[in-house]
């Protein structure tokens, strides 16, 4: 059994979802009420791999909503309580979706292993970041050429380059993809310099400097509230991969020369019998999902019951290759600009 810990993308969505589930009190409740709501085990469903193997998964809604981010204790409780529930249900490997892993990392929740009577076992959880990083790189590799961008000649800006996913993406793009130049953008200058040295290349730039130069922009940081992007100042064409959370880049840039692709999203080879993704703003919620969730599925398919992605800046190219090969084997493909081609496998009905 694998698990997914998710949450609604806004308080408004959470209330709508509660109404769908017939929970009127929650649907009408104010944010304070939601702050006291315990995590809910929403559904259990089956998933069949391209190889024919079937596994079971459970979706847990932590009852967190992004509006709680400014309440440190509340946000912390939501994450810890959802993790405790997953462990108590005996789930082998659970992915921390959306803000769950961000809160875990930024609030340093690894310090708090004891939750009431439960000692959290970290090996039962994964951030899913290795698969997300691999998928984002694949999205760059597959979609830039479709826009006429030759990656061997292209400048690729990575915004949020020093983060867990960002640094992995930089490593892969420079060593595996062989992009012409990496433009490294992040807030912390020392970390940027360390990363540049590790990569043995790349240029450290501010966001304003990097954007007009970049043929491809990979966003793996959430967007500053005040950010506005002048489409006219960008390269033509320009591919933007929106790998942050929440995915709202397309509301900030609108131009025929700029193509925005939702980053870190995969499409599964067949329908998944779940209900909860309906609200997750996927264009095909029966098949599309966050790559971090898919990582938990892959770890369960493969029997790799370990915290495959954990901590910060631990993602190796070998781990990305390993999870990437499993991803293809089991029927996931990276979301692309055109309808995703069906993998060449015989479907087992």
């Amino acid at each position: 059994m694998f698990g997914l810990i998710g949450h609604s993308s806004s308080f408004r969505d959470a209330r709508l979802k509660a109404r769908d589930l017939g929970l009127e009190e929650l649907a009408e409740g104010e944010l304070d009420l939601w702050c006291s709501a315990p995590p809910q085990l929403v559904e259990t469903f089956e998933l069949t791999s391209a190889t024919g193997q079937t596994i079971q998964g459970t979706y847990i809604d932590s009852c967190f909503v992004p509006e709680m981010l400014s309440r440190f204790k509340t946000a912390t409780r939501k994450v810890q309580n959802a993790m405790e529930l997953a462990q108590k249900k005996g789930i082998n490997i659970t992915a921390l979706g959306g803000f769950t892993s961000i809160i875990f990392e930024n609030f340093n929740l690894a310090k708090f292993q004891q939750i009431r009577a439960t000692l959290l076992q970290w090996e039962r959880f994964t951030t899913g970041n290795t698969h997300t990083a691999w998928v984002i790189c694949r999205q760059v590799e597959q979609n830039a050429p479709r826009l006429g961008i030759d990656l061997t000649k292209a400048k690729v800006a990575v915004v949020g380059a020093t983060g867990d996913i960002g640094s992995a993406v930089c490593r892969w793009l420079s060593r595996r993809t062989g992009v012409a130049e990496l433009l490294l953008v992040a807030r912390q200058q020392q970390r940027l310099e360390d990363l540049r040295q590790e990569l043995g290349g790349g240029r450290v730039l501010s966001l304003e400097e990097a954007l007009p130069e970049a043929d491809v922009v990979v966003w793996v940081a959430s967007l500053p509230q005040t950010l506005s992007i002048e489409a006219e100042s960008l390269r033509k064409p320009c591919l933007m991969i929106d790998g942050g959370y929440p995915k709202n880049l397309d509301t900030r840039v609108a131009s025929e020369h700029v193509t925005v692709l939702k980053g870190g999203i995969v499409e599964f080879v067949r329908d998944i019998g779940w209900q909860m993704m309906e609200m997750a703003e996927m264009s095909n919620p029966r098949r599309q999902l966050f790559a971090c969730f898919a990582e938990a599925m892959l770890l369960e398919f493969e029997g790799w019951h370990t915290n495959f992605s954990w901590g910060r800046n631990n993602i190796t190219l070998e781990a990305m290759e390993q999870i990437g090969a499993a991803s293809i084997r089991h029927g996931f493909s990276a979301l692309g600009l055109e309808p995703v081609e069906a993998p060449a496998i015989a479907l087992v009905a």
């Binding site: 589930l21 017939g22 929970l23 009127e24 009190e25 929650l26 409740g29 304070d32 009420l33 702050c35 006291s36 709501a37 315990p38 995590p39 809910q40 085990l41 929403v42 559904e43 981010l69 400014s70 440190f72 204790k73 509340t74 946000a75 912390t76 409780r77 309580n81 405790e84 529930l85 108590k88 803000f99 961000i102 809160i103 930024n106 609030f107 340093n108 310090k111 009431r116 009577a117 940081a221 959430s222 967007l223 942050g244």
Partner: protein, 234 residues
Amino acid sequence: MASSVLAPTAEEIPDFSTEAYKSAYSRINAIVIEGEQEAYDNYLSLVTLLPDQQESLGQLARMELKHMKGFQACGKNLGVEPDMAFAKTFFAPLHNNFETALAEGKVVSCLVIQALMIEAFAIAAYHIYIPVADPFARKITEGVVKDEYTHLNYGQEWLKARFEDVRGEIEQANKINLPIIRRMLDQVADDAAVLHMEKESLIEDFLIAYQEALMEIGFASRDLARMSAAALVA
């Protein structure tokens, strides 16, 4: 993004010597003592409805009595006189419902009130109290909380073994008594805040323990949210 959020701070320990703390403690400590006393009485009363359970119930009752004495010592240690009159009024609505159910021979309702709700309430409150308690009370409370799980488990197992026959009465008892629990949490919130125990987490932790018991008993996960919503609405 999340990085703009403040870094975590360690659990703040209150000043146990202030008058404000002692005043709040006189009511909270009394509630805990009264709660353990009533638990003792309730488990012994249940023997009249479950004579074959005399031994187990007697054992649970004796543990509650031991807890009560421990919490009395906590008050003495801080030089606080528990306000027992307040605590009796605090428990009265729930106590009355238990007595009524007992008189009507409704063993399921009695177990829902005592073994599920009150025990889940205690587990939540004790867990939240431990990190902010004075060293003496912390040690006592850590010992108590382990026992309370076995009490919750007792009610859980009994009800689980008869789930199909008793689910209707559990739902009914839930509907009648959960709003009372919620009012009790509201009533105690200000004093609890002085002890650095937050209402928000008290409610959440109570619901976690309570829902977990309901799930063990046999309710589906969707039933849980529906049944516990009454505790969320003020």
